[in-house]
């Protein structure tokens, strides 16, 4: 029996290895973010993409996706069958995405004000002017969601509908390690010591420690991953995305850690941008707040309070059964979440 068992294991391994060799030999390029697009606006490193849609439009108001500064927007279009952007397009939405580019030492004095009042403001205005519309739909993702919330509070007349994906607004949280650790961080020493630019690798190390064995588990499951070409490509694309972690503009990082993680000013209604107090009650347009039930990076309790705090009458809280990354690329994201988001915008397009 024991021999038979060993032979079974061996057979399984030979089977896996054979498929794996075949699959990995076939790979020439690992491409991400392949949805066709134009650069329609640019200011320095920041670009605004407009995606091409083949089908008929079902909404006249386009959606502007505001991604986080941490990591890259490509997660929204990782691969054709796992693409939030493509799904919105196929559902009849007109889609724009802001690409923040890669911050360098030259951007060390760029502040949250520059990002929100400057870049987001410019992109929103560009779309409004181009389409001759008074307001656009915003879809804020993670930290980009926090920025979108702030923008919507300051310029409610320019935002038709606001949807946020796994967006932290209440930073006084004990579930999320990131929220706990950030409170003890000497952010001045970090920003000044790093010479004004926080390396992406530094942030990645912190993310890794939230679930210290995640990497081990990922590589441990490689034999199974390698057996299927689709899984293998997905793995390689994710590796590519994770590795591409931009540095952070020091002043923005300093302010984000201090004002949000350490002082929790946004939810308290005490955050001030460009001399204007950000009051969440000013957000009166329809709001869709999406959180991920298993999110260990941005736990639900940090996102859900937005639903309570906004001044909107038309508001909805949506739970996604998965983790932080699953929101963008999980199977349920494709089949349930992104169509639901598109439908939510379309219903409120009148």
């Amino acid at each position: 029996m024991a021999e038979q068992h060993i032979s079974d294991q061996l057979l399984q391994q030979v089977d896996t290895a054979t498929d794996a060799i075949r699959n990995i030999s076939d790979i020439n390029t690992i491409d991400i973010a392949t949805a066709e697009r134009d650069v329609v606006w640019q200011d320095g490193k920041v670009k605004l993409y407009h995606f091409k849609r083949e089908g008929k439009a079902k909404a006249k108001t386009p959606v502007l996706i505001v991604y986080a500064l941490v990591n890259r927007w490509e997660m929204m279009d990782l691969q054709p069958n796992r693409s939030f952007v493509r799904k919105l397009l196929s559902e009849g939405m007109d889609v724009y995405v802001i690409d923040w580019g890669y911050a360098s030492r030259l951007d060390r004095y760029k502040t949250i004000e520059d990002y929100i009042m400057g870049n987001i403001g410019d992109c929103v205005d560009y779309i409004r002017r181009k389409d001759q519309i008074p307001s656009v739909n915003l879809l804020g993702v993670c930290q980009g969601g926090t920025f979108s919330v702030i923008y919507s509070s300051l310029f409610p007349e320019k935002v038709k509908n606001l949807a946020t994906l796994v967006t932290p607004v209440d930073f006084d949280n004990k579930q999320g390690l990131l929220f706990k650790w950030a409170k003890d961080l000497d952010v001045d020493a970090m920003v000044d010591g790093f010479g004004g630019v926080i390396p992406g690798e530094f942030l990645n190390t912190g993310f890794d420690m939230l679930k210290p064995m995640n990497k081990t588990r990922k590589y441990l499951s490689l034999p199974d991953t390698l057996k299927e070409k689709d899984k293998l490509m997905n793995f390689l694309r994710m590796e590519k995305w994770v590795a591409d972690s931009p540095d952070q503009a020091g002043e923005t990082y300093r302010q984000f850690i201090k004002d949000f993680y350490q002082k929790n000013l946004l939810i308290k209604g005490e955050f001030v941008l460009a001399g204007r107090k950000v009051d969440l009650k000013n957000i009166t347009m329809p709001v869709l707040t999406i959180y991920a039930k298993e999110d260990h990076i941005v736990p639900p309790d940090t996102t859900k309070p937005l639903h309570e705090k906004v001044g909107s009458k038309d508001k909805e809280l949506m739970e996604f059964p998965g983790g932080h990354i699953g929101v963008f690329v999980g199977a349920r994201s494709q089949s349930i979440l992104s169509p639901a988001v598109a439908s939510w915008y379309i219903k409120r397009d009148a």
Binding site: L177, E239, A243, D247
Partner: protein
């Protein structure tokens, strides 16, 4: 999972298919190679022979248990594999030799007689294949993810050394901490956890602290004998570090000694660049670097020790959980199952520490002290090149400040211009303005790549 000889045949066919595909591809791309039909000519008769054997075996009855009930038939089949392997590899070698192409499996199939059972041959092939796969995965993943994957493969192999012993412990229920410690020594444990978390383990923290204290006392005593501002000062200073670096035999301080040696070499050339006037300032900075680095090493060691202490019961727990299952099922887990469960147990213990206030503060201090070293080194380099026409950090900061300020001014002017033009055109907020962007330009979808300026950090998610 499917079982039986049919499965074995299916897998072999897959393997041969793969080899055939590769050689077909080469032959297409390399003129002068033997036409693809040669491979096919070999392959088809082999498959027909297999099928014939299979039909005969089926007539004899129980195919599933044929390895036990029909050893002669099984041996015939093995011989068939042996012949097939040799023939195919001969063909393959001939083709590959002309082009010096290296592929998995080529070295594992020798022309030696098939004295062992077929599975052993396949085991060898599989090991070669795994090696090839590791190399090819490594080639496909981004540069800054490579160290993580390499780390994992080292860790996986390291743990495998203990797998045989662990199986016995599972079988006999030897899962007390004392027993596992004898087998899986504290040194081995430190090495493994270090690999899991990606840090270089420090040996004995108490001894490290003692050594560092002694270092500071020696350092202060030596400094009192020196005369600042002279070449003698600099010579004594570097000599002190060099000697101390050589004398410190403690593993935890080896890294400090390495840095000291590295700095001695590097700093000497910096002194030549900077000239005598900068020597004293640089010597002071060097001292700061040294202290900052020592502080960083100590804090790191403390943090590591907390994590190491936390995870020490993960192995006994893992063995116990498998022992409990073994009592019921009499089934031994495979190595991967064990490895996976050990990682999960270890993570549970580590998270208890990671969630503590103590760890959070310590981690913040480690980060702060690590960055302090970097900042001091930056200062040192800037000082050394002070009189040279290079764009140094402090000046670059002024440029960055000016850049940001100008962008704000431009944005402000655009907004004002837009407001004026809107008024002029009747106040419509939708009026087109000079801010209208240029004609859209198509961007070829391309994989995002880190810019060269960012690629220096090739080390974690």
């Amino acid at each position: 999972m499917k079982k039986g000889i049919d499965e074995m045949m299916e897998n072999q066919k897959k393997a041969f298919d793969s080899w055939k595909d590769w050689s077909d591809q080469w032959m297409k791309s390399m003129p002068g190679m033997t036409p693809p039909s040669s491979g096919k000519d070999f392959f088809v008769p082999w498959m027909e022979m297999q099928q014939k054997w299979m039909d005969e075996t089926m007539k004899m009855g129980n195919l599933k248990g044929s390895t036990e009930s029909m050893p002669e038939q099984w041996k015939t089949w093995m011989d068939m594999q042996s012949q097939a392997s040799e023939k195919w590899m001969d063909f393959y070698r001939e083709q590959a030799k002309q082009f010096g192409v290296s592929v998995p499996g080529i070295s594992s199939f020798t022309k030696a007689p098939f004295v062992e059972m077929g599975p052993k041959q396949w085991q060898t092939w599989m090991e070669e294949s795994n090696k090839w796969l590791k190399e090819n995965i490594l080639e496909k993943i981004p540069a800054n993810m490579k160290p993580h994957y390499q780390n994992f493969t080292v860790l996986y192999d390291e743990m495998a050394k203990y797998w045989e012993g662990v199986q016995r412990m599972i079988q006999f229920g030897s899962f007390s901490k004392g027993t596992t410690d004898q087998f899986f020594t504290p040194e081995a444990y430190r090495r493994v956890v270090g690999l899991f978390l990606g840090f270089k383990p420090v040996d004995n923290v108490a001894k490290l602290v003692e050594d560092v204290n002694r270092f500071f006392e020696d350092y202060i005593a030596s400094m009192q004998k020196m005369t600042p501002g002279t070449h003698d000062f600099m010579d004594s200073f570097t000599r002190f570090f060099r000697d101390w670096g050589r004398q410190s035999g403690h593993p935890g301080l080896q890294a400090v000694a390495e840095v000291t040696n590295m700095m001695e070499k590097g700093i000497n050339s910096l002194y030549h660049v900077a000239g005598p006037s900068e020597e004293l300032a640089m010597a002071k900075l060097l001292k700061d670097v040294q202290f900052a680095y020592t502080g960083f090493v100590m804090k790191s060691a403390e943090m590591q020790q907390i994590l190491l202490d936390a995870g020490q019961f993960a192995l006994p727990d893992t063995i116990k959980s498998f022992y409990d299952e073994f009592q019921e099922t009499k089934k031994m887990p495979n190595y991967t199952e064990f490895f996976n469960r050990y990682a999960n147990h270890l993570e549970d213990y580590l998270l208890e520490v990671l969630e503590s206030d103590e760890y959070s503060i310590l981690q913040a201090n480690v980060s702060k002290s690590g960055i302090a070293v970097k900042a001091k080194m930056d200062e040192l380099i800037e000082l050394a090149f002070d009189d040279f026409p290079f764009l140094m950090k402090s000046f670059a900061d002024e440029v960055a400040q000016e850049n940001t300020s100008l962008r704000r001014k431009v944005r402000d002017l655009e907004t004002r211009l837009y407001a004026i033009e809107s008024t002029f055109h009747g106040g419509s907020a939708m009026q087109k303005t000079t801010a209208e962007p240029p004609k859209p330009k198509a961007e070829a979808p391309k994989p995002a790549t880190r810019k060269a300026s960012n690629s220096k950090k090739t080390t974690a998610k």
